[in-house]
């Protein structure tokens, strides 16, 4: 029960901007692995943060605002995946680095990225949350809105698929 023009708006705005500044980069990285495109990832993060802004008062009061924003991001990504005209994720240009001959490494990473993007969306999300964001199975379950058992099975299937990639790399070596 609050007036529309709620008091303390300035302080809340400052706090939100600080939160967004700190969390945007990690979210952007996760979103990139989920959708396979830096620009789309940026859109996802911006939309997720805008939605967080709408509910910022509650998010601030939450025990774990990070989980809230991550869940919004995943929902936003899911929403886009479900669209009929959603682009099929494809591995774009993988980050290159200046220096000695990195071509083999670049190719290897491109292959991994493709393998990752071939995974079903749920499995990919489980892998990204578990292994990039370092979430526990429980935290991943909360973020995905499913049970821990589902996370385990999704991650296990994804790892089985990715293991083939690693085994092929070993065979090449």
């Amino acid at each position: 029960m609050r007036f529309r023009t709620s008091p303390g708006a300035y302080e809340r705005d400052v706090a939100f901007r600080e939160f967004a500044r700190q969390r945007a980069a990690p979210l952007h990285r996760s979103a990139y692995l989920l959708c396979g495109d830096w620009h789309l990832a940026e859109d996802l993060v911006q939309e997720a943060l805008a939605k967080v802004y709408v509910h910022w008062r509650r998010v601030q009061d939450a025990d774990n605002p990070e989980a809230y924003v991550r869940r919004i991001l995943l929902n936003e990504a899911r929403r886009r995946w479900r669209r009929k005209d959603a682009p099929v994720p494809r591995a774009g240009a993988v980050t290159d680095r200046a220096g000695p001959d990195w071509s083999e490494e670049v190719v290897r990473r491109a292959e991994l990225f493709e393998a990752l993007l071939r995974l079903p969306a749920g499995q990919r999300a489980a892998i990204v949350l578990r292994h990039l964001d370092g979430l526990s199975e429980r935290e991943t379950a909360v973020a995905l809105g499913c049970s821990e058992g589902t996370v385990k099975s999704q991650a296990s299937r994804a790892m089985a698929a990715l293991r083939k990639y690693y085994e092929s790399q070993e065979a090449k070596a």
């Binding site: 008091p7 901007r17 967004a20 509650r58």
Partner: protein, 329 residues
């Protein structure tokens, strides 16, 4: 799973995302956030206004003599000095016709419409006290829409005061219909020390409703639902009530208990991602002038510093250094 592969994968995923990530466009994000918020509120308002207009004949329903006892929650405010609302408080002014008797279970749409209409009618004449807990944090909000003020008292879980906010809104009289000015006085409790702050917001506030809007007077549980159902009846504090359940996207679900007599909400429970809110609603007659701004405004302690009202907004750090601040930014 092979832990080596897991380690390799974690390393590779980090490598894949070593791209220099651009900083967030905070202006664009907040602009979009404001637009989303406006759209949300606008839709809620338009829906409410339409329902209210469409059911004008049934509006009078709300506050029959049965309202006199309110939904049954009473008690004083923890802070702010506002006199308590009594169970036996007189009914809000009403000359309404009796509530229509439902012969069976009403549909959710009908019940929501009746509730919206009753709420709108009651807000015009009554004082509403909402006792809430959000994730265990209690708060009490008293709103008298007809006198354009609201007093909110937030507490820590242990009951210690967190902040007291008094807000009053004066309808603008300028060229812009619906322009409001807001004056907010907040008493923060920081390390047991009260910090008083007054904010005069001099920017015009646009309102999207056709009629002046003085408060978020609808229960949260009615504001965004994509699915509603009347799931039965219950008795709350001796009052027969309909139980309206709603679900929304992202795990949102709520229940609101609506008095069969007054068609006003008695209590609700709202679950979202971030926590659970319990609200209980108490209606009583709007008090006289003694309960308005002057009485609720905490005194400004001697020796406090006032910041010019036309300067730039202070940062939170600057604001903390001043015991009393006033600005219009």
């Amino acid at each position: 799973m092979n832990p080596d592969i897991e380690t390799l994968l974690a390393r590779d995923l980090r490598e894949l995302t070593t791209h220099q990530v651009p900083g967030p466009d905070l202006e664009a994000i907040t602009r979009r956030g404001r637009a989303l918020r406006r759209r949300r509120r606008g839709l809620a308002g338009v829906g409410g206004a339409t329902v209210t207009a469409g059911l004008a004949a049934a509006v009078a329903v709300a506050l029959t003599a049965g309202t006199a006892s309110g939904p049954g929650h009473s008690g004083g405010l923890a802070a702010g000095g506002t006199p308590p609302a009594h169970r036996s408080a007189p009914a809000p002014a009403s000359t309404g016709t009796p509530a229509p008797a439902f012969t069976g279970t009403p549909s959710a749409a009908v019940l929501q419409a009746q509730l919206t209409a009753a709420f709108s009618k009651a807000a015009a004449t009554s004082r509403l006290t909402v006792r809430s807990t959000f994730n265990g944090y209690p708060s009490v909000t008293v709103t008298v829409p007809s006198q354009n003020w609201q007093l909110e008292t937030d507490k820590y879980r242990n009951g210690a005061p967190m902040q007291v906010k008094f807000t009053t809104v004066q309808p603008g009289t300028g060229a812009y219909a619906g322009v409001l000015e807001e004056k907010t006085l907040t008493l923060y409790y920081d390390h047991r020390q009260a910090i008083t702050r007054v904010i005069y917001s001099l920017r015009p506030k646009w309102i999207t409703h056709a009629t002046p809007w003085y408060g978020d007077t609808q229960p949260t549980s009615l504001q965004h639902s994509t699915w509603s159902k009347v799931i039965g009846t219950a008795t709350v504090d001796g009052q027969p009530a309909w139980v309206l359940a709603q679900t929304g996207s992202g795990g949102y679900h709520s229940k609101v208990w609506v008095s069969k007599t007054t068609l006003l909400p008695i209590k609700d429970v709202v679950h979202t991602y971030v926590g659970t809110t319990h609200d209980s609603y108490t209606w009583s007659a709007a008090s006289g002038p003694e309960a308005t701004a002057a009485n609720n405004t905490p005194p400004i302690p001697a020796g406090f510093t006032r910041i010019g009202s036309h300067g730039p907004c202070p940062t939170p750090q600057q604001a903390r250094r001043h015991k009393y601040t006033e600005w219009g930014c």
